[in-house]
């Protein structure tokens, strides 16, 4: 039996205000993005992302999300918004202290189906700037049709990456 989780691309962000990861194989219905040890050079900054089309981030105000925020310091929160220009990975600022980082899994749907909106599910685990654990479980969409070929991650206020490993996989549907 052949492999069903196919690594398509990997990047390591060490600097710069954006981290872009794209794929060229458009044969998959489902893509899986996994990232770990994503860190910022400035305390208390949120991490966001957009979908890319032909390598260029779509910053139209057509993003919408609904997520459940798990947190250890207080009651969990339902989060959501419409008409956004990006999707959030977290909403409490990322930290720069020892060990503080953001990690997660994102499944992407309909990126090659130009007749349907593009969707993602998100599972995030992170420490914020005062070492509070936050989790993010939910979904988002770009409410506009078109082909997508990846993701652009960026920090609030154009802060810069200091680390971050991003891998994108395709889920193979043939034997």
């Amino acid at each position: 039996m052949s492999s069903s989780l196919i690594l398509l691309n990997e990047i390591n962000a060490t600097s710069g205000a954006t981290a872009n990861i794209t794929f060229s194989d458009t044969s998959f219905d489902v893509y899986f993005l996994q990232f770990n040890d994503v860190r910022c050079d400035t305390d208390d900054k949120d991490l966001n992302f957009r979908f890319t089309s032909s390598g260029t981030a779509d910053d139209s105000a057509n993003y919408e999300y609904a997520v459940y925020e798990l947190r250890a310091d207080s009651t969990h929160v339902n989060r959501g918004a419409t008409g956004q220009t990006s999707l959030p990975v977290n909403i409490s600022g990322q930290g720069t202290g020892t060990g503080e980082a953001c990690n997660g899994n994102i499944f992407a749907f309909n990126f090659n189906n130009t007749g349907e909106f593009s969707h993602v599910t998100m599972e995030i685990t992170m420490f914020d700037f005062v070492e509070r654990i936050f989790g993010w479980q939910g979904g988002g969409a770009l409410k506009a049709v078109g082909a997508r070929n990846g993701f652009e991650f960026f920090w609030e206020s154009s802060a810069n990456f200091t680390s971050g490993n991003f891998k994108i996989y395709g889920l193979n549907k043939t034997n």
Binding site: S3, L5, L70, G99, E123, I133, G135
Partner: protein, 174 residues
């Protein structure tokens, strides 16, 4: 080559147990691991299944270095939260092994356990029953807030409530 690669499995074949450990299972050629847990129930002893990590010397870490946030989903009641900023284990990422034949099961992702300089993060979802046939689910995030190399993982409960067939399986995400 597959990007989801089997690393190791342990299975309890000796009857009732209180803990099951899997060791030397996080080689540093991987940054992220996927853990499958099946905690079978001994008879009708319903006990919660908790998780601890194992350090570089093979010792189970029971210091107050675990933080987590957990949502318990309940089919017959409102959902509830269990959180801690300082605990000696992760509380029920796989839920509770319940009245036989209702095991605690789930998938847990570990981020960067092999690194000596990073905290180890986890994401998990679990499912089991509540002792009267109602489903319990868990959505779980956690951090082991000590920068050290993690070499293994232990599930544990009380009263020897896990039975033969309990197993842990580790995959590396390449």
């Amino acid at each position: 080559m597959s990007s989801l690669q089997f690393v190791k499995q342990v299975e309890n074949t000796s009857g009732r147990i209180t803990s099951l450990s899997i060791t030397n299972c996080f080689p540093d050629i991987y940054k992220v691991f996927m853990v499958h847990c099946l905690a079978n129930t001994y008879s009708d002893l319903a006990r919660q299944v908790d998780v601890r990590l194992i350090d570089n010397s093979g010792s189970v870490i029971s210091d107050s270095e675990y933080t987590y946030a957990r949502l318990q989903l309940r089919s017959n009641a409102t959902y509830n939260e269990v959180n801690s900023t300082s605990d000696t284990n992760w509380d029920r990422p796989f839920c509770t092994n319940d009245n036989d034949p209702d095991p605690a099961t789930g998938i847990l992702y570990l981020f960067n356990p092999a690194s000596s300089s990073k905290f180890t993060y986890c994401l998990a979802q679990g499912v089991s029953m509540n002792g009267s046939g109602s489903v319990r689910g868990a959505k779980f995030v956690g951090v082991h807030k000590s920068a050290e190399t993690i070499t293994g993982l232990q599930i544990f409960n009380s009263d020897n409530a896990m039975d033969s067939g309990t197993k842990l399986t580790i995959f590396g995400v390449k």
